[in-house]
């Protein structure tokens, strides 16, 4: 009963907040606080002394504040935003996220627009800044997002802000724009002595990477050497295409992913942390091995010790254009949920200019 009433109250609070929440929100900047402080001082002095010239200055300062509100509103109006997520993003590696702004206004340009991505449970490390978006113009800026860990990363909204025209306060609103980016584990290539794979038919090691007869073409995958690019097909298809080579004896590779956290480590915080980091490393090695195998033309069978919440713990991937993505996506979703690094999402915010 108590839980029900709490849920109802929570729902009511959410609805009320959704209804009452102003579309725009304000925050005074440091300069703004100084300005408002002086304005209050002038106001007090004017009321106290009755000096009309102080009232005049007070009027001027308040006018600037009021006008600042109006102009910042105009700057934020009539803007359309689009986000373009990278096709592939690897944990710990930078990937470009593009923000496009279109100023629908006919005459008024928008100055000093700052756009920041809002992520679920994550902090954004960068913002995009648009100095001037002319009326009717479109501008794109990109920022490098470094996802700290593998797994789905949810982009919730765009926080659009401006401090125009006087920098007295920052006005912002959030635009709901939900998108999910599946962050792949960053593939780790290691020597044979540390390989996590169990091989059927042939040992797959870095030393044994060879290049046989061309079997076909496929889309260029991450880690493919440049010399594999099939330039004629690339030109014809309009995208980077690599040669796929067949290798005798590399028909199928079974890779077991040790993603189970020992029960003994589950309760102890520090042990669990070490275990989770070890699992992550295993997953990264598996990714590296699987990509290598696919590149060599072998089919890959991934077997996870613990299956993901939705789906099975087994993946069969034959060498094809989408095989690498399937493998990486499978590995990205594997439990356990990776541990966020302590400083992973607290890196200083940086800003980038429009492209």
């Amino acid at each position: 009963m108590r839980r029900l009433s709490s849920a109802v109250l929570d729902a009511v609070r959410r609805v009320v907040w959704a209804v009452l929440r102003p579309p725009r929100r304000l925050r005074f900047t440091r300069d703004g606080k100084v300005f408002i402080g002086i304005t209050f001082g002038v106001g007090f002095a004017a009321v106290n002394t009755g000096n009309n010239l102080l009232y005049l200055v007070l009027g001027l300062m308040l006018s600037l504040v009021i006008l600042s509100g109006v102009l910042s509103e105009i700057a934020l109006q009539g803007l359309e935003f689009r986000r373009r997520l990278p096709r592939r993003a690897y944990a710990g590696a930078p990937a470009l996220v593009e923000i496009e702004v279109y100023n629908r206004k006919k005459y008024a340009p928008s100055y000093s627009i700052e756009v920041e991505d809002r992520l679920e449970n994550r902090r954004t490390d960068k913002r995009c800044y648009f100095l001037k978006v002319a009326a009717g113009a479109r501008q794109t800026a990109a920022y490098r997002r470094v996802a700290p860990v593998r797994g789905p990363e949810t982009y919730l909204a765009l926080r659009v802000a401006t401090r125009f025209p006087f920098g007295l306060f920052e006005k912002w609103r959030e635009i709901d724009m939900r998108e999910v980016q599946l962050v792949y584990p960053s593939p780790l290539r290691t020597g044979a002595e540390r390989t996590p794979v169990v091989v059927f038919g042939e040992q797959v090691t870095r030393e044994e990477r060879g290049y046989g007869e061309v079997d076909g073409v496929r889309e260029l995958a991450d880690g493919d050497p440049v010399r594999d690019i099939h330039w004629a097909k690339t030109a014809a298809m309009g995208k980077l295409v690599a040669r796929e080579r067949r290798r005798e004896g590399a028909r199928a590779v079974r890779i077991e992913v040790a993603n189970r956290v020992a029960e003994s480590a589950a309760e102890d915080g520090s042990l669990r942390r070490v275990a989770l980091l070890r699992v992550e490393e295993e997953i990264r090695r598996a990714a590296g091995a699987a990509l290598d195998a696919l590149k060599r033309g072998a089919s890959v069978q991934l077997v996870a010790q613990v299956a993901p919440f939705e789906g099975t713990g087994l993946l069969q991937a034959r060498p094809s254009s989408g095989a690498a993505d399937r493998v990486l996506a499978f590995l990205a979703k594997l439990p356990p949920e990776p541990l966020l690094p302590d400083d992973g999402e607290t890196a200083g915010r940086q800003r980038v200019k429009p492209a």
């Binding site: 002394t49 005049l56 009027g59 006018s63 125009f164």
Partner: protein, 730 residues
């Protein structure tokens, strides 16, 4: 236009405005002002590597510390005024910021300093110069703040990650600041247009903000006025005030002014009276019989001879600059005053007026901002207030106003007897003396000033002097006959300011005359000074016009801004309420329908007249704009029809006549036509009357009749006038 250039210009403009506002308060000596100006000018040219030099920055820091130490030392040990030292250091600080501007933060500091200086200037001085600076701020602040913000964002965003661009190319902030694309004409025009809503909003806030005035620390701005000296004595060896002194002392706004009121108008504003003459100077005996009495007050009304009736009495508004001592100049025929209360601490404070034994009115004030008051004039002449009290203390009175210096020459008495031999009454004698003296020559040359006995020298040798000689001579001559007199100083006449629609009374209009006691009439005013000395000095030309515009602006600034208070707010609220009431009454007369026996409004009546008026106005403005466009395209100009040759000749003749009259010491008052003045001269049997009559008739016929005046005739008449003017007086 380059971003950096526009930003620099806007910030310098703001800084200069702040410094001017600070300097206009009058606290800074000329040398400090000059050094500040030089500093600002030099800092404009400080650019490039010098700005980035650490050594340069260090030098400035040391200089600032030394300057601060010097100012503190001056204030503590050398008696320099603390306010002055602070103001000077604030100016130096701004120069330092201007000369050390590197980043957006420096520019923002300059803007902030300028605003703080504008705030400080509200206490240092609130004159017209402040008003101009304020208008400049309204225009320049949006520029400086907008560009400052953009620069701050550019530096903040682009410096943080110089290699964040997708192409990995370093982003050069300096390149953006040199860009002409960021600040286009649109942004500049937009931020300039912002001045309009800022101005309107400021005005609205200014008017609506209640003038409560807690009064914990009451500091009113000092008006941009000069403390005029209203002498406590009159010394014949010098000038009371120079007639050419154009400093405005007060402004008179008569009611119901015609469209084209006379440019010069003579009215007498009574100031101070003197009762004691020591042979060289007039002074006033202190505290005779309880000198000052508080004037009776009823609300904002003050009774001089009776409580004024605002509905029936004529109201003349006077704006007085601070006088020392705080004398209230009173128009002749005044029955009372109205002075609006000032609100301090939310309560009205009424001015205290007092009147002395000789009807001199003073106000109690130490705020140095003068007084605004309305004088009520009765249609019928009123006896001066002193008359009432006079009867009560006749003995003291008699002794006081017949006092003479012990060493007065007996020749003065003889002359007085001689001049008044034919008269038997007090006023007849006074008229005789007045007439006798008024034929002498008015001059500002102190021909008798150096004499041991200036009055005797004036009476028996030079026969020339300024108004104080004439009034002294008359007062003393009458006193030798036992007639009580007193010497009065005040102001006579003023010139019309068509921009502000008021009469400006200047220091140069200060005048001296005589009041003679008559048992029947009370105090009667006599003015023995020749007309040439009575007329205000009239200035013409562009400078005079500019002065008039400035003075009109100053008057409005003072009325609508500096003196704005709770009373005026209440007045505005009342007017607004009246307007709404009128509209409401108008609405109730709008069409209705009867429904079930009740009057039901169909909704708000459309103010068709208003709509039509606005539409008509818009059309007219559009047509005017179209015309103006055409006019500008054609490159033509609008000019009035030039006067004909005949009119020009007549005007030239009138000017020649006026010059001759002035030379003869019988200048034509501005409110008399040449013909009327010639007739008056004839009645006075003046030697020049025949000539004046002949020329003025000729002028009238040529100017307004059909007669023509040839060049030969004009030259002949001018030659005659010239020779007649130079002929000796009878």
């Amino acid at each position: 236009m380059k971003f950096s250039q526009v930003h620099k210009f806007s910030v310098f403009t703001l800084a200069v405005l702040g410094l001017v506002a600070l300097g206009a308060g009058g606290e800074m000596p000329v040398i400090s002002l000059a050094l500040t100006a030089v500093g600002v000018a030099v800092s404009w040219f400080v650019e490039g590597d010098l700005l980035q030099s650490e050594r340069y920055a260090r030098t400035w820091n040391i200089a600032l510390v030394l300057a601060l130490a010097a100012q503190v030392t001056r204030a503590l040990f050398f008696g320099a005024e603390a306010l002055l030292t602070v103001v000077e250091f604030a100016a130096l600080l701004q120069v330092n910021r201007l000369a050390s501007r590197r980043t957006a933060r420096d520019y923002q500091q300059i803007t902030l300093l300028a605003i703080l200086q504008l705030i400080a200037a509200t206490v240092l001085g609130g004159g017209l110069s402040y008003a101009l600076c304020f208008v400049g701020f309204v225009i320049a602040t949006p520029w400086a703040m907008t560009l400052g913000h953009l620069r701050h964002e550019i530096e903040g965003n682009y410096l943080a990650d110089a290699r964040a661009g997708r192409a990995g190319v370093p982003i050069d902030v300096a390149r953006i600041l040199r860009s002409r694309r960021v600040v286009g004409a649109g942004l500049l025009a937009g931020s300039s247009v912002l001045a309009v809503p800022i101005f309107l909003l400021t005005a609205v806030i200014f008017v609506l903000f209640p003038r409560i005035g807690l009064g914990i620390l009451t500091v009113r701005s000092r008006a941009d006025t000069v403390m005029a000296g209203f002498g406590t004595s009159v010394d014949l060896s010098g000038h009371g005030t120079i007639r050419t002194d154009q400093t405005i002392v007060l402004r008179v706004q008569p009611p119901n002014l015609p469209t084209n009121p006379p440019f010069v108008r003579t009215f007498r504003l009574r100031g101070t009276t003197f009762d004691t003459y020591n042979g060289r100077a007039w002074s006033r005996r202190p505290n005779v019989g309880g000198d000052h009495q508080r004037i009776e007050r009823d609300g904002t009304l003050y009774a001089l001879t009776r409580m004024p009736d605002p509905d029936r009495d004529l109201a003349v508004r006077i704006v007085l600059d601070p006088l020392d001592p705080p004398v209230v100049p009173v128009l002749e025929g005044a029955v009372g005053f109205r002075i609006d209360a000032r609100f301090e601490g939310g309560f009205p404070h009424y001015a205290d007026l007092s009147i002395d034994h000789d009807d001199g009115v003073r106000y109690s004030s130490n705020d140095g901002i003068g007084l605004v008051y309305t004088v009520f004039m009765s249609g019928t002449p009123a006896r001066p207030a002193g008359h009432r009290r006079l009867d009560e203390r006749r003995d003291a009175f008699t002794n006081r106003y017949v006092q003479l210096p012990s060493d007065l020459s007996p020749r003065v008495r003889d002359l007085a007897h001689q001049v008044t031999a034919a008269e038997t009454t007090t006023l007849g004698r006074a008229h005789a003396v007045e007439h006798f003296l008024s034929r002498w020559r008015y001059t500002l040359q102190l021909e008798s000033g150096g004499a041991a006995r200036p009055l005797e020298d004036f009476l028996f040798r030079t026969h020339a002097g300024h108004c104080e000689y004439f009034s002294t001579a008359m007062a003393v001559m009458l006193r030798t006959l036992g007639i009580p007199t007193r010497n009065v100083t005040g102001f006579l006449g003023g010139t019309f300011n068509r921009y502000g629609r008021f009469y400006a009374v200047r220091q140069g209009d200060a005048h001296s005359w005589v009041e003679v006691w008559d048992a029947t009439e009370g105090w009667v005013t006599f003015d023995p000074t020749p007309p040439a000395g009575e007329m205000p000095v009239v200035r013409t030309g562009l400078v005079a016009e500019i002065d008039a515009v400035v003075e009109a602006m100053r008057m409005r600034w003072r009325h609508y801004v500096v003196d704005f208070d709770l009373g005026m707010q209440a007045q505005i609220a009342r007017k607004l309420w009246r307007f709404i009431e009128q509209r409401r009454r108008h609405d109730t007369l709008s069409p209705r329908v009867l429904e079930r026996g009740r009057a039901v409004r169909l909704g708000p009546a459309v103010p068709w007249k208003g709509v039509a008026g606005v539409a008509l106005g818009a059309l007219t403005l559009g047509a005017l704009a179209w015309q103006l466009r055409g006019w500008r395209r054609s490159g033509g100009g609008l000019r009035g029809a030039p006067p004909s040759m005949a009119v020009k000749a007549a005007q030239e003749l009138a000017r020649a006549l006026d010059a001759a009259l002035v030379a003869r010491g019988i200048a034509r008052p501005a409110n008399r036509t040449p013909l009327a003045w010639a007739q008056e001269l004839t009645l006075r049997q003046d030697a020049f009357a025949a000539m004046a009559m002949r020329v003025s008739e000729r002028y009238t016929a040529a100017r307004f009749g059909d007669e023509t005046l040839t060049r030969e005739q004009l030259d002949a008449l001018k030659a005659e006038l010239k020779s007649a003017a130079q002929a000796p007086s009878a």
